[in-house]
């Protein structure tokens, strides 16, 4: 019997290294949207803590750590990245599999903020946008999720179908920043 072969969104597009910065595809594992039902936020928070060891993130924040993270994903929603959600959470929230819906990349290195300043209309400087901060915003006309994962590293997500444009736009900005020295 034939077998289906999995392909990641940025397959064949990455990695790239430009001017001391690197752009790599992340493979975060499962990604599930968790949207608490009316009045369920507190109970859900406890259940999430119990099942996955992290709090339900407040707006503009991410909880957990690399490999198992909950990223605030907009109004009434978090994205659990890493583990598949415990079935018990379904009592308190709508759970929706989005593992294949987003291209996830990591931009890292000196100048990463300058690169994003060319694409994202949000203040991402370290004194304002700290580790564990996240933003739902746009990246050059694409709906995006941007999370700081380290002093010079960001996790960036756009819809899977736009992976090529994401890589193109990021690389173009990286080249321009690198050229300025």
């Amino acid at each position: 019997m034939a077998e289906l072969i999995a392909k990641s969104p940025c397959d064949g597009l990455l990695p790239a290294t430009i001017g001391g910065m690197s752009l790599t595809e992340e493979h975060p594992g499962a990604m599930w949207a968790i949207a608490p039902f009316n009045g369920q936020l507190k109970v859900l928070g406890k259940a999430l803590e119990a099942a996955h060891g992290m709090a339900f993130p407040a707006p503009n924040r991410a909880t957990g750590k690399a490999g198992s993270r909950a990223v605030w994903f907009g109004r009434d929603m978090a994205l659990l990245m890493g583990p598949a959600p415990d079935a018990g959470l379904a009592k308190h929230a709508a759970l929706t599999d989005q593992s294949d819906a987003w291209a996830v990349v990591r931009l890292e290195g000196q100048g990463a903020e300058d690169v994003l300043a060319r694409l994202v209309p949000v203040d991402l400087r370290p004194q304002v946008f700290k580790r564990g901060h996240t933003a739902r915003t746009e990246l050059k006309h694409m709906m995006a999720s941007v999370t700081r994962t380290g002093p010079q590293s960001f996790q960036i997500m756009v819809f899977r179908s736009m992976a090529k444009t994401l890589v193109h736009d990021l690389k173009t900005a990286m080249e321009a920043v690198a050229a300025r020295g």
Binding site: M1, A2, E3, L4, I5, A6, K7, S8, P9, A33, A35, P36, F37, N38, R75, D76, M77, A93, A94, L95, T96, D97, Q98, S99, D100, A101, W102, A117, R118, V120, P121, V122, D123, R125, Q127, V128, K140, H141, M142, F159, R160, S161, M162, A163, K164, T165, H168, D169, T172, A173, E175, A176, A178, A179, R180
Partner: protein
């Protein structure tokens, strides 16, 4: 002429450059203007209208005259201000608006015809006969108009856009700006300091006045060193703030590589030529300085006649004396510094002419008080001036006249949010009105405070105000000691007399033009401006508007404040279209969305169609097929006879969950979904609040509280926003959550009589009429992967849509094609999909065009009477259900020309083909291989009642005029047995 030992660029590297083909030497740090003056080149270009010889007037971005062209072809930049362009090795610049050369310009004949070209010339001359407008006048005007020209070739440069954020944006780096940045920076505020020049310091680089006992430029260097060391301060040189916008947003143009040889900014290189910044600032300190204004007198536009402040800048900053025998003409004390500085540098001062009787004496040179310069003479450079005083007229030999009519504060940015500046009688200038731009404080010369000490004080005070608002404490202020001379000035706008006295140098507007406008009753400043074109050139009248206003005030017997001002609008300096649209070329124009099947369909040579942002396969040409119709017909037939595979992942898919999900859908759709059984799919229709159709699609019930909705590709975003609105704004109490899963699933239509056979062995479970009845849905394991199966049809055939997580999309697509091809089927694209649905009378957004109702579509039966739904009240309006509305029908050819085209209009045969006889229009058309005919869907007045009638189809665009038969919109398998069976 370069003066050894003078200027701030001592020991700078020599640079070779060329002007109009002539090679010359300059110094690193020179502007092109400085280098030209150092080489005694005064004639730089020709004026716009009269082609008069013009030279360098200023030393900044306000320059109206010294505009040059740099580069050729796709690298050609016209209208580059020589006063801003930095010199680089190999720079080649050319004069503009002259032919064959700047010295011998044929069009200079215009100057002799000047009496014909006065104010309102265009309006008066090019009126009659009307037949001449397009053929004669327009080409003539276009040929003569404009300064520099574009090459007409594609721009080869790279540009960029960027965002920046700060607590305090300081605009300008003169004494006020530096002091403000220093005060704010020391207090810990996040500061961005923008300076349009390549070097920070403003007038401190051009003056010899001291600060704290040392030269101003040294003080500036020390402050800059301190600022540079602060993490919270960002210094941006070559960056002009171009506009002030709402909520503290500022636009700024950074000239990133204009100062480098061209190769650095080409697309093949990576450095942008310019960067357009959007700066979001909590507060701003405007310390933009002031612009010196000329005095209008006869022939005041001759090369060698310059602004007094600019002459000081060339001398003190670049070590260049613009003349050997200089005269100064002023109405204020400050301009006397020009004579002083030149004299100290060993340049001969022929005379200082001051219009005031109480003018200061100055140094060991002649000061003629209470006198005016009333004319100049010379060929391509000033050779002498005529001075008029109580003693009569006197001619003075001079090769450079430094003039000053006072200073205009740079209030531009304070006007961008519609505030008007106010007239200050002491400073004889417009100053910003308080609170003109929320969050902006003004300081220094742009505020009408012209002394260095005043600027420092105001800069510190402005920062103090901002810091207070930011809840930060300024460090104890220690203002250094500095020049605090009073600004003594007496009004002098235009010297009376015959001949042409120039106001707007770039647009060639004279005092006489403004007076004539007033005579012809264009008394409003806005009318005068447009009638004379005063201030409408690329410099926007930076150094001439106020004088023109004063002349108009005088001519109309009003005061200046009574006369008013024109409005300053962004941008403060010209911004190239390339910078505005940075990044939006080629692949950067808009995001591209690719299907998981894209690679495979591309490999198969499929022609791609852009559908919104998506790229979808239009058709798959096979060997021997020479046009798209052949491929399309074959694909349609394949689906009807065997099986076809089509990627339908672009349709919007919305996952809906929650106890109130059914209730929510009942409200969104005209028909009922809460009664839909788990495991079934239903077609639904959505209206807008005004009762017209918004979208259609199928929704599947996967569980008691779990639905998946499908929207059209076109309306996916709109439907999502609509659902969010209903859920958040109208029914927040309903417990329902939804999110787009369009990208999660790769979904393929498997359509045709052999579709069930194809799925056999692909799915773990058996596929039969029991397990997967028509409109059935559910989870299915596809080659071991958890997916979903929907038995729905958009082709009228027995069909399925099979979905798997997108990572498997490409793999599944290949497998489906392999299986289809093995049974005589294959891929089909958008063209075939379209024909298949037209044959079935199924609608898309070609039909749902915003003006159609459920009634027009024959779907009035879908509007439930038992429940409320969005749009119900307005859809019930009489007019939306009227029999004579244009309603959907099918069309078949009935004339000799068998052609049906989308967009064609329909008429009753015999009626004139005129708008008022219009009976309807065609929305979709295609060739049906099954019928062997072109077919179409159309909206026709009383359509369904006219089945069997003949209508006339007229398409003016494509030259089609034929007859059609009105038929049912379902052309193929009207009973629908094929899909159900």
């Amino acid at each position: 002429m370069r003066l050894p030992g003078k200027g701030l660029n001592q020991g700078a590297k020599p640079i070779t450059f060329a002007f109009n083909g002539r090679h010359m030497m300059g110094l690193e740090g020179d502007t092109l203007a400085a280098a030209l003056l150092a080489n005694d080149v005064h004639l730089v270009g020709r004026s716009f209208k009269y082609h008069r010889p013009r030279g360098v007037l200023t030393a900044g971005s306000e320059e109206p005259n010294a505009l040059v062209t740099i580069g050729t072809g796709g690298q050609q930049d016209p209208n580059v201000r020589a006063t801003q362009q930095e010199l680089f090795e190999g720079l080649e610049a050319r004069s503009q608006n002259c032919w064959p050369s700047v010295e011998r310009d044929v069009m200079a004949v215009n100057d002799l015809a000047a009496p014909f070209f006065g104010a309102g010339f265009y309006y008066k001359t090019f009126m009659w006969p009307a037949a001449f407008w397009e053929k004669v006048y327009e080409p003539m005007i276009r040929n003569a108009a404009g300064l520099g020209a574009l090459s007409g070739e594609a721009d080869q440069d790279r540009y960029e856009k960027a965002f920046a954020f700060c607590d305090v944006l300081v605009i300008g780096s003169g004494p006020a700006g530096l002091m403000a940045a220093l005060t704010a920076g020391r207090a810990g505020a996040d500061v961005i300091l923008c300076e349009e020049d390549s070097r920070m310091g403003g007038r401190l680089l051009a003056e010899r006045e001291e600060i704290g006992g040392k030269p101003g430029h040294e003080w500036a260097a020390e402050v800059l060193a301190e600022l540079e060391a602060m993490d919270n301060v960002r210094l941006m040189t070559r960056t002009a703030v171009t506009g002030a916008y709402d909520q503290g947003t500022y636009g700024a143009l950074e000239r990133v590589s204009h100062h480098l040889p061209r190769r650095h900014s080409l697309k093949s290189s990576h450095l942008p030529r310019e960067c357009f910044w959007r700066i979001a600032a909590k507060h701003a300190v405007l310390a933009a300085g002031a612009i010196e204004r000329p005095v209008a007198f006869r022939n005041n536009d001759r090369p060698g006649i310059m602004m007094a402040g600019a002459v000081r800048a060339y001398l003190n900053r670049w070590g260049v004396a613009p003349g050997e025998r200089v005269t100064v003409f002023a109405n204020n004390d400050q301009a006397h510094r020009t004579a002083r500085d030149l004299h100290d540098a060993g340049v001969h001062i022929a005379a200082v002419i001051d219009s005031r009787h109480e003018a200061p004496d100055g140094g060991p040179y002649q000061v003629i008080k209470g006198a005016q310069v009333c004319g100049s003479a010379g060929r391509q450079r000033v050779e002498s001036i005529t001075v008029r005083s109580v003693k009569g007229e006197e001619k003075i030999q001079t090769d450079c006249l430094a003039m000053s009519g006072g200073w205009n504060p740079s209030v531009h940015l304070t006007c961008h949010l519609n505030s008007r500046p106010v007239w200050n009688r002491e400073a004889l200038a417009f100053v910003p009105s308080v609170g003109a731009v929320p969050g902006m404080v003004t300081a220094g010369a742009c505020n009408g405070i012209f002394s260095t000490a005043g600027a420092l004080r105001e800069g510190a005070e402005a920062a103090g105000k901002v810091l207070e608002a930011l809840d930060l404490k300024p460090a104890a202020a220690d203002l250094p000691e500095a020049e605090d001379d009073p600004y003594r000035i007496a009004a002098l706008w235009a010297v009376p007399g015959k001949g042409r006295a120039w106001l707007d140098f770039q647009n060639d507007v004279t005092v006489k033009d403004v007076k004539q406008a007033a005579t012809e009753n264009f008394r409003s400043v806005e009318h005068m401006k447009r009638y004379t074109t005063q201030g409408m050139a690329t410099d926007q009248g930076k150094n001439s508007n106020v004088a023109a206003l004063a002349v108009l005030a005088d001519a109309t017997g009003r005061t200046i404040p009574e006369t008013g001002t024109t409005t300053f609008r962004p941008p403060f300096v010209p911004v190239s279209i390339g910078a505005m649209g940075a990044g939006a070329t080629d692949e950067g124009f808009k995001p591209q969305r690719f299907l998981t099947s894209h690679g495979e369909s591309h490999t198969r040579g499929a022609h791609q169609l852009e559908v919104g942002l998506w790229y979808r396969a239009a058709y798959f040409p096979k060997q021997g097929e020479t046009n798209w119709r052949q491929s399309c017909d074959r694909e349609v037939t394949t689906v009807r006879k065997a099986v076809g595979i089509c990627d339908v992942s672009t349709l919007g898919k919305i996952d809906i969950q929650g106890p109130d999900a059914g209730k929510f859908l009942d409200f969104l759709y005209t028909n009922t979904f809460s009664t839909l059984k788990v495991g079934k799919v239903r077609y639904g229709l959505m209206l807008r609040e005004d009762g017209f159709v918004m979208d259609d699609g199928t929704t599947a019930r996967l569980g008691e509280n779990h639905f998946v909705m499908t929207t059209t590709t076109a309306a996916a975003g709109q439907v999502m926003a609509h659902m969010e609105f209903v859920s958040q704004a109208l029914y927040p109490e309903w417990d329902v959550r939804f999110t787009s899963v369009t990208e999660q699933w790769a979904q393929f239509a498997v359509a045709g009589p052999k579709s069930r056979q194809l799925l056999d062995g692909l799915l773990d479970d058996d596929v039969n009429g029991e397990t997967w009845p028509f409109m059935g849905c559910g989870e299915a394991t596809v080659l071991g992967v958890k997916g979903r199966l929907f038995r729905i049809s958009f082709s009228g055939e027995h069909a399925y849509e099979v979905a798997v997580p997108a990572r498997y999309g490409e793999s599944l697509y290949r497998e489906l094609l392999k299986r289809a091809e093995a049974m005589g089927g294959g891929a089909y694209g958008m063209e075939a999909l379209n024909v298949l649905r037209i044959e079935k009378g199924l609608i898309t957004h070609a039909e749902i065009n915003g003006t159609v109702t459920a009634f027009d579509l024959g779907l009035q039966g879908m509007m439930s009477k038992k429940k409320d739904f969005l749009g119900k009240a307005m859809a019930a309006r009489e007019g939306l259900m009227a029999e004579d509305r244009m309603r959907m029908v099918g069309l078949k050819p009935a004339g000799a020309a068998k052609e049906i085209t989308a967009g064609a209009h329909l008429f009753t045969p015999g009626d004139p083909v005129e708008r008022i006889y219009d009976q309807g229009y065609v929305t979709s058309a295609g060739y049906s291989p099954a019928l062997g005919l072109p077919i179409g869907l159309a909206f026709l007045k009383e359509g369904p009642d006219r089945i069997g009638e003949t209508v006339r189809l007229v398409d003016h665009m494509r030259g089609v005029d034929t007859l059609c038969e009105v038929v049912s919109p379902v052309f193929f398998d009207p009973e629908g047995d094929r899909a159900r069976g």
